[in-house]
């Protein structure tokens, strides 16, 4: 472990290194069959980064298809209710498809097209990334196969139907416990057999290099916009940023453009499920240790024998036993504080936002809203928090009703 006091003095935005490492984390831990493809993806990404036409097309789609920039909204009644810092919400739930996931999918499908790939695969847990992937596949006319755990298919029928409407084929994964981790295993297995024609759109800032980097870069549109918006609105940077973390793509997208603004406190919120004391949570940093899974080294929920354990969260989108490697590094060097919210706390925060702002959030950012509530209360009215509202809650109303004991 790096000593937090030995925080790097240079830019914190320079990573990863040329081998895809953020400190000891990240890397490329994949089977040899995938290695040449991973290396080719990196070369193509470097070419795309140097190609103004690539960025121009990405920006154009962000504006006209996704609906960016998303508003930075001053949540006045939430601020009054808590009685502390001024709270701004980055409204990525207003994106086309209702979450931040589409930012990344647009970027990756443009890469897939550059590489001449003719079909797309993806994994999904709650179905948000699956819907976003199916959406961009329909938009670009590419066939799409989504791997989804059998248990998640049962829990997320509306999203399964959405994906089918968009033309995607859904593969039900029964291996393991039939959740997100197993869907990702199965997508990787399928990819190994179809490397020639298939592009894998990974949904979070994890996986083998260069995925954590490129997903972060595509999602950084969130933080880049938020930084410009708060400067315009308040004439200064915020005092704190807060975002929820499963794999951590919405969070790294908000955080990354602020990493070198050392006066901005940055807080990531993991899912504490039924509590960090037991095994039923999905807090990889709070309850896991470094290991290797799905192509990268990062904090993982695992037992003493190195076997991966299953996460639990009321939010299917946070229910993953790992976390993006850049978060592991930011945790290690102490730049980002990682806190957590339980299922119950997230449910309370979910209802608070509904009542005070007329916004039904997804259960994922409801975890962030809980921590906003705690942190804002200890700050003064002249201080500013930006929280990422990374998804809307339509998909979660059945889960919430169930948790509140309501039949609908």
């Amino acid at each position: 472990m790096t000593n937090p006091n030995s925080r790097p003095s240079g830019s914190l935005r320079a990573g990863p290194d040329e081998r895809g490492h953020f400190g000891q984390f990240g890397g490329r831990y994949v089977a040899e069959t995938l290695m040449p493809l991973i290396l080719e993806l990196e070369r193509e990404y470097r070419r795309a980064q140097a190609d103004p036409a690539f960025q121009a097309e990405f920006d154009d789609l962000m504006k006209h298809y996704v609906g960016r920039p998303s508003p930075l909204y001053f949540a006045e009644r939430l601020t009054d209710e808590i009685g502390g810092a001024r709270i701004y919400l980055k409204r990525d739930e207003l994106n086309h498809t209702g979450a931040h996931k589409v930012n990344n999918c647009i970027g990756q499908i443009l890469l897939a097209r550059r590489m001449g790939k003719t079909r797309i695969i993806a994994e999904t847990g709650a179905g948000q990334h699956g819907v976003a992937t199916a959406t961009v596949c329909a938009r670009f006319g590419l066939p799409c196969t989504i791997f989804m755990g059998a248990e998640d298919i049962r829990r997320q029928q509306p999203n399964v139907f959405r994906m089918k409407l968009l033309g995607a084929e859904i593969v039900s994964v029964t291996a393991g416990r039939g959740t997100l981790k197993d869907a990702m295993n199965e997508a990787l297995r399928h990819w190994v057999a179809r490397v020639e024609d298939t592009f894998y759109i990974i949904g979070t800032a994890a996986g083998p290099h260069p995925y954590p980097e490129l997903v972060r870069d595509f999602q950084s549109v969130i933080g880049t916009e938020a930084r410009a918006q708060i400067l315009e609105r308040e004439g200064r940077l915020p005092d704190a940023l807060i975002a929820c973390i499963g794999g951590g793509s919405n969070a790294i997208g908000l955080f990354h453009p602020f990493l070198d603004d050392r006066d901005v406190r940055i807080i990531g919120v993991e899912a504490a499920g039924r509590g960090l004391d037991g095994d039923e949570h999905a807090a990889s940093l709070a309850g896991g240790k470094p290991g290797v899974l799905h192509g990268n080294k990062t904090f993982l929920l695992q037992d003493g024998d190195g076997q991966i354990t299953e996460g639990h969260s009321i939010s299917a989108g946070l229910d993953y036993p790992g976390i993006g490697p850049e978060h592991s590094w930011l945790h290690d060097i102490g730049r980002v504080d990682y806190m957590s919210a339980t299922d119950e706390q997230a449910l309370d925060a979910f209802q608070l936002l509904c009542r005070t702002e007329g916004i039904i959030p997804a259960l994922e950012p409801a975890h962030a809203i809980h921590v906003v509530r705690e942190v804002a209360a200890e700050m003064s009215r002249d201080q500013i928090i930006i929280a990422n509202l990374c998804g809307r809650g339509d998909k979660d109303i059945f889960t919430v009703a169930d948790a509140l004991g309501v039949e609908i």
Partner: protein, 262 residues
């Protein structure tokens, strides 16, 4: 370095490399299964280290890993199984195959403990040459062979990277896919083996998708070793109470086919 592996590949016929998962269906069953493999003519034993997330494996080996883990198999137990095997079979090479995370979780003593248990080498499926530093030097210091994989996607330009630091033998994965599913055309395999041999003196064993004695014999004509795994693991799954006799009969049929082929 121990020379059990080179001896196994020095015969005037291809070696039969047989894979089973340690602790499948339970740790108590494994010794009898390993004895059956040796008695039936396996030249090299590949002992799988079970992992919850075997991303490069098909349904057969996934199921074997789950059976082993459900029966309480740990990496410590796997090393005990290896050590006991070494005491009974001083000459048959045994290599471990699996994924990196359990090895990392075991800690820095892994390579030395494996060597002490009489293990000859190790294959880590998700440790490409690019991340070799993770455990490679420790393996070398302990005198363990580090066996690398080459695949149909490993092109001419990349082969030297794969071979750099490889020892024992090279495992050619004959199909782009997971274990136990498709099988490759023999002519393609022969071409690939020849391509690798132009770069290396290491013996080349070929695996993935080899199931019948006829397939084993065909591969034996073009490679230095024939790896069979999923078919054996399937038999173990089908005979959970007493898998050894079925495994013995099947492996003997492979071994005879390989001997007749060359």
């Amino acid at each position: 370095m121990t020379d059990r592996l080179s001896a196994a590949f020095a015969r005037n016929r291809a070696a039969l490399v047989a894979f089973v998962t340690a602790g499948d269906p339970s740790p108590a069953h494994t010794p009898a299964i390993l004895d059956a493999l040796v008695d039936a003519g396996a030249d090299v034993i590949e002992l799988g280290m079970p992992f919850t997330d075997p991303m490069a494996d098909g349904p057969a080996i996934q199921a074997g890993s789950i059976r082993a883990l459900n029966a309480g198999t740990t990496l410590k137990r796997t090393l005990r199984i290896a050590g006991d095997f070494r005491a009974r079979h001083p000459k048959t090479p045994l290599i471990l195959m699996g994924y990196l995370n359990p090895v990392l979780a075991y800690g820095s003593a892994f390579a030395a403990d494996a060597a002490k248990a009489g293990v000859d080498g190790c294959i880590l499926v998700d440790l490409p040459p690019e991340e070799h530093e993770e455990v490679g030097p420790a393996f070398r210091d302990a005198g363990l062979h580090f066996i690398r994989l080459a695949t149909p996607t490993t092109n001419e330009a990349r082969l030297p990277t794969v071979l750099n630091g490889a020892s024992g033998f090279l495992y050619y994965v004959s199909v782009a896919g997971v274990t136990g599913t498709a099988s490759a055309a023999t002519t393609d395999v022969g071409d690939a083996v020849a391509r690798i041999k132009a770069h290396s003196d290491l013996p080349v064993a070929v695996g993935f998708g080899i199931r019948t004695p006829r397939q084993a014999a065909a591969i034996a004509r073009v490679a230095d070793g024939v790896v069979v795994g999923s078919a054996i693991v399937d038999l173990i799954g089908e005979n959970p109470d007493d898998p050894a006799p079925a495994v013995h009969a099947y492996v003997q049929s492979l071994s005879e086919a390989i001997r007749d082929a060359t």
